[in-house]
């Protein structure tokens, strides 16, 4: 145990480890807050879909040899998130079909562009790294850390300030509209926030594993609590703890960061499920 603490204290001296922990906590916090809304709106897989769209955006940015791909990726992802979510319950192409259509389309076009224009000598490496994010969170520049922090603060602040309206639109959009809430506007805001979180979360767990970061904390919390507020708070705490454990375990054990975080989320879900059954909670 003493050697582990000694190793950790050595590792924490490296600035990129501190950056990874800070950004990891912020990203996991943001994704867990919106995860509850997405799970309840039956949009659990939108994280996966939008991450594929973000991959397509990154591919376009790479082809154009942009120094920083995040702005273009963010714009493309926001546009697709708005198309998917702004329609809400009354969209012509609903939920899973719309996500599948945009998701696979963006992934295919993105990979096609990368193959045709080959911006770097290691195409498979770039694609694999983007998909699984093995060490992306540990190779952030200071500018990227600041950008992640600012966007995360904005997301959390918006969620706190608009909590009641997000709650209303999540549970009963028609009733919210009938009582004077501009449901379309809040669906738009939710869509933009989700897109921002997805682009940030790709640095943490990669494209293929983003859904786990969004879904597992919310589902784990729902095993233990019933109210929206309790589930949201519990989801945030679980997500942050699992991300911290995942990042630290990955750097000590030499495992991929994204997969380790998801493994921690799965273990947390299993524990919450058992605890929920034992306590006779909301796990039915």
């Amino acid at each position: 145990m003493a050697s582990i603490f000694s190793t950790l204290s050595t590792y924490f001296a490296y600035p990129f480890v501190r950056y990874a922990l800070i950004v990891g906590v912020l990203i996991s916090l943001c994704s867990s807050l919106l995860g509850v809304t997405l799970v309840l709106k039956r949009f659990s897989f939108i994280g996966d879909g939008l991450s594929h769209v973000a991959f397509g955006g990154m591919a376009i940015a790479s082809v154009f040899k942009l120094t920083n791909d995040m702005p273009l990726t963010l714009i493309v992802t926001v546009i697709c998130a708005v198309l998917l979510l702004k329609g809400g319950q009354n969209a012509k192409i609903k939920g899973d079909a719309a996500i599948a259509m945009i998701s696979v389309g963006a992934l295919a076009i993105g990979y096609l562009l990368l193959n045709i224009f080959s911006p770097s000598g290691n195409l498979s490496g770039d694609v694999c790294s983007t998909l699984f994010g093995s060490t992306s969170i540990l190779t952030l520049t200071r500018a990227e850390v600041y950008l992640c922090a600012i966007l995360s603060v904005i997301v959390v602040a918006v969620f706190i300030l608009l909590y009641n309206r997000i709650f209303a639109v999540t549970f009963d959009e028609d009733f919210a509209s009938a009582t004077g809430t501009n449901a379309n506007l809040y669906n738009l805001i939710i869509a933009i926030i989700i897109a921002v979180i997805i682009v940030l979360a790709m640095n943490l767990v990669g494209s293929l594993l983003i859904s786990a970061l969004v879904i597992f904390p919310a589902l784990s919390a729902m095993r233990l609590f019933k109210s929206f507020k309790s589930v949201t708070v519990c989801s945030a705490i679980l997500s942050v703890i699992c991300s911290l454990i995942g990042i630290i375990a990955a750097i000590i054990l030499g495992t991929p960061v994204g997969s380790t975080i998801v493994a921690a989320d799965i273990i947390a879900f299993a524990l919450c499920y058992v605890l929920g059954v034992f306590l006779g909670g909301s796990g039915k």
């Binding site: 590792y11 001296a13 490296y14 600035p15 990129f16 480890v17 501190r18 950056y19 800070i22 912020l26 290691n122 498979s124 490496g125 770039d126 694999c128 790294s129 699984f132 093995s134 060490t135 540990l138 190779t139 520049t141 200071r142 850390v145 600041y146 922090a149 995360s152 603060v153 959390v156 602040a157 706190i160 300030l161 909590y163 990955a250 750097i251 000590i252 054990l253 030499g254 495992t255 991929p256 960061v257």
Partner: protein
């Protein structure tokens, strides 16, 4: 009340970044003040592969901080043979095994020749040398000079 909470959270999130900025400056000054010495400045061989990979990326992204420092690294020995010269590298793969980063190295003992005096290609090696940067054409490369195979 919610606005107050949001402001408190914003301050809470920004403080760690400010705090870390100061520590980075201290570490930078400490590193820059030490000249080339026989002691190892950065021993990547003792780090996990995830950490070693990340540190190599950090060194290539901010190479000015590390120039002239003695570095020890463990990885896979890669040889690239060209008509002009051979390039010897020590490569670290990331955990998905699809990406690799590392440095070239130039042995201090120039009498050694490949393949007789070098390890087997694609085998694991540990090499120690002085971190250096050079350019060929438009490209920049990173190497360990005055290197010794351990």
């Amino acid at each position: 009340m919610k606005k107050f909470i949001a402001i408190i959270l914003a301050v809470f999130f920004i403080i760690p970044l400010v705090a870390c900025n100061g520590k980075d400056e201290e570490k930078t000054e400490d590193n820059n003040s030490s000249s080339v010495s026989d002691s190892i400045d950065y021993d990547l061989s003792k780090l996990s592969t995830t950490m070693a990979y990340s540190q190599v990326v950090e060194m290539t992204n901010n190479s000015s901080k590390y120039l002239g420092k003695r570095v020890k690294i463990t990885g896979t020995f890669i040889v690239e043979e060209t008509p002009q010269r051979n390039y010897y590298s020590c490569l670290i793969n990331d955990q998905t095994a699809c990406c690799g980063v590392g440095f070239e190295f130039v042995l201090k003992d120039t009498s050694k020749s490949y393949p007789d005096d070098y390890p087997q290609s694609n085998g694991e090696i540990t090499v120690e040398g002085i971190f250096n940067r050079y350019s060929e054409g438009e490209n920049t490369y990173y190497e360990l000079i005055d290197a010794v195979l351990l």
